[in-house]
């Protein structure tokens, strides 16, 4: 009975292992291939030819001006940073509040309903969000604040904030859910109110997960293109108020790449922008990942 025999279960196990291996490896290969492609197109240029002094400090983005194109990305970086920053102002309180309500207070059907709602929100394509920015927020901002244009940091920030909210809410709620029920019980049994339990026990022990949620939201904001392109005004500008139009890094790439000649300086500098974005989002995601791991590790 216990002889060493190759049976069906063994074969199936081997085949499954093989398939999973190929799947996993090809996913990694694709990512590496994309990375290599971007690096090949822009990295050499970014390192050896691009004037970094100008790139990081000049707001003048005139990639097609003759005879001397200018590749100052400061205004674009400021555009991305300001819109993302504003989005976080909207999104963080909103998402954490929603996560606390869903995770700690809502029960039964209300809770399920809200979770589905949040997931639905996540499923809205970004072009639709951009459309909302263009057709609803724009006139609304003009009306309410009595300003000439409504396609501004405010507009894009709110839109982006709403877009980042679902992922932040979901991850934050996961973090709250990971706090052992015994903590709540023990604290409540001592006579702590629900709010005291949340503030003094649940939030501190979910801290890493909550920060990770915020970081992932920031990453989402950084990488978002279409909605920002539509709602921010797409004007190269060093902003001084939320009512200024700005242009984001992502939107610049999306809008200009199609019009450049492959291999031209303009083409390569857009890839440099891509590398910059890649590095920033990579660092943000890495941080979030480390924090989430930290949380899991601590529980084990």
């Amino acid at each position: 009975m216990l002889e060493d025999r190759i049976d069906l279960a063994w074969v199936v196990d081997r085949i499954t292992q093989g398939v999973v291996f190929v799947g996993g490896v090809s996913a990694i290969l694709f990512v590496i291939a994309i990375f290599v492609f971007i690096a090949q197109q822009g990295l050499g240029f970014a390192i050896f030819e691009l004037d970094k002094g100008v790139f990081f400090t000049s707001p003048a983005w005139r990639p097609t001006s003759e005879p001397e194109p200018q590749f100052g990305a400061l205004a674009l970086m400021a555009g991305t940073a300001s819109v993302t920053g504003f989005a976080m102002l909207v999104s963080v309180p909103f998402s954490l509040g929603a996560a606390i309500y869903i995770g700690e207070f809502a029960t039964g059907r209300t809770r399920e309903f809200l979770k589905v709602l949040v997931e639905l929100l996540a499923a809205i394509p970004s072009v639709v969000w951009g459309f909302i920015g263009l057709t609803i927020m724009n006139p609304l901002i003009i009306e309410v604040f009595d300003v000439p244009v409504g396609l501004t940091i405010l507009n894009a920030g709110v839109i982006l904030g709403l877009m980042a909210a679902p992922i932040m809410t979901t991850i934050a709620e996961d973090a709250l859910k990971a706090v052992p029920e015994g903590y709540r019980e023990a604290a409540e049994a001592m006579g702590a109110t629900r709010w005291q339990v949340i503030r003094q026990v649940v939030l501190p022990s979910a801290k890493n997960g909550l920060v990770a949620a915020v970081l992932l939201g920031v990453g989402r904001g950084f990488g978002e293109t279409m909605a920002v392109l539509m709602a921010s005004g797409h004007a190269i500008n060093l902003p001084t108020s939320p009512f200024d139009s700005v242009r984001a890094l992502t939107a610049t790439i999306a809008a200009e790449l199609g019009e450049t000649a492959r291999g031209s300086e303009h083409y390569k500098v857009l890839f440099s922008l891509g590398i910059l974005l890649f590095i920033v989002t990579f660092v943000i995601n890495l941080l979030a990942d480390v924090l989430v791991r930290g949380r899991k590790g601590k529980r084990a």
Binding site: A186, M190, Q200
Partner: protein, 255 residues
């Protein structure tokens, strides 16, 4: 002891506890007197923990738990307490598996006094006194700032006992506290409990019938959600039990 003349700390009348369709406790009625140790024994799933949870209204945290009947605490039905948090703060609970809150040892014990608004030197004093009583002070006095969850299982259990004492409760509920504690420490804690009953009423749920025998003034025997018998511990353990099942259980013939 002169139990009949003592005041009733807790009076249970027709207490029934259900989880969905499962009946965990069926029509229990008995009293617990002031300053006694009241033992609750019985095999697994007999409803002991459920009984404790009904006392400080933990059922409100459990979605499918339903309690009917009365639990009079100081003569007043717990369900009539408007301020649930005030009720709970007067009842200390020690759970079977120790739950060190995710904060320092000091903060664990300071948690409940802080809820009452105690601060400063008085707080330090309470922390030291409660840790001492829970037989933990000597082991942790040099590391009060380190995480409570890093203590060993037995130390964490004593930490939760210290935490319950920090509430200065009128009623202390212990649910199989010795599960994660070594025998020597268990004995030390048992000695502490004997002293504590001068100050408070203690309900001791235990799987170890000998522990009830050592500590409890009176004991209740629960079986499958039924309270088979409540009586003086000495009676229950000396073949004077009213019910044959009680004698069988305490003599280890089942359960």
């Amino acid at each position: 002891m002169a139990a009949t003349t003592a005041t009733e700390k807790l009076k249970v009348r027709d207490l029934t506890i259900r989880y969905g369709d499962t009946v965990a406790l069926n029509g229990a009625s008995f009293e617990v007197y002031e300053n006694e140790i009241f033992g609750v024994i019985g095999p697994a799933n007999s409803g002991k923990t459920s009984f404790l949870r009904a006392i400080n209204r933990m059922d409100e945290m459990t979605s499918n738990m339903h309690v009917s009947g009365e639990v009079l605490f100081n003569g007043k039905d717990v369900s009539h307490w408007r301020n649930l948090y005030a009720l709970r703060s007067r009842i200390g609970v020690v759970f079977p598996l120790p739950v060190g809150l995710p904060m320092s040892i000091y903060e664990n014990v300071a948690f409940a006094p802080k809820l009452r608004g105690v601060r400063g030197a008085e707080l330090d004093e309470i922390v030291e006194r409660c840790l001492t009583r829970a037989a933990l002070w000597d082991e942790v006095k040099d590391r009060l700032k380190s995480l409570g969850s890093l203590l060993s299982g037995g130390q964490q259990q004593r930490l939760t006992i210290a935490r319950a004492l920090s509430q200065e409760p009128e009623l202390l509920l212990l649910d199989e506290f010795s599960i994660a504690v070594d025998p020597v420490t268990t004995m030390r804690i048992e000695d502490v409990l004997k002293e504590l009953k001068e100050e408070m009423t203690i309900i001791l749920v235990t799987n170890l019938v000998q522990q009830a025998r050592r500590l409890a003034d009176r004991t209740a025997f629960f079986l499958n959600g039924e309270v088979v018998e409540v009586g003086d511990t000495a009676e229950l353990f000396t073949r004077n039990a009213q019910d044959q099942r009680t004698t069988d259980y305490v003599e280890g013939r089942f359960g």
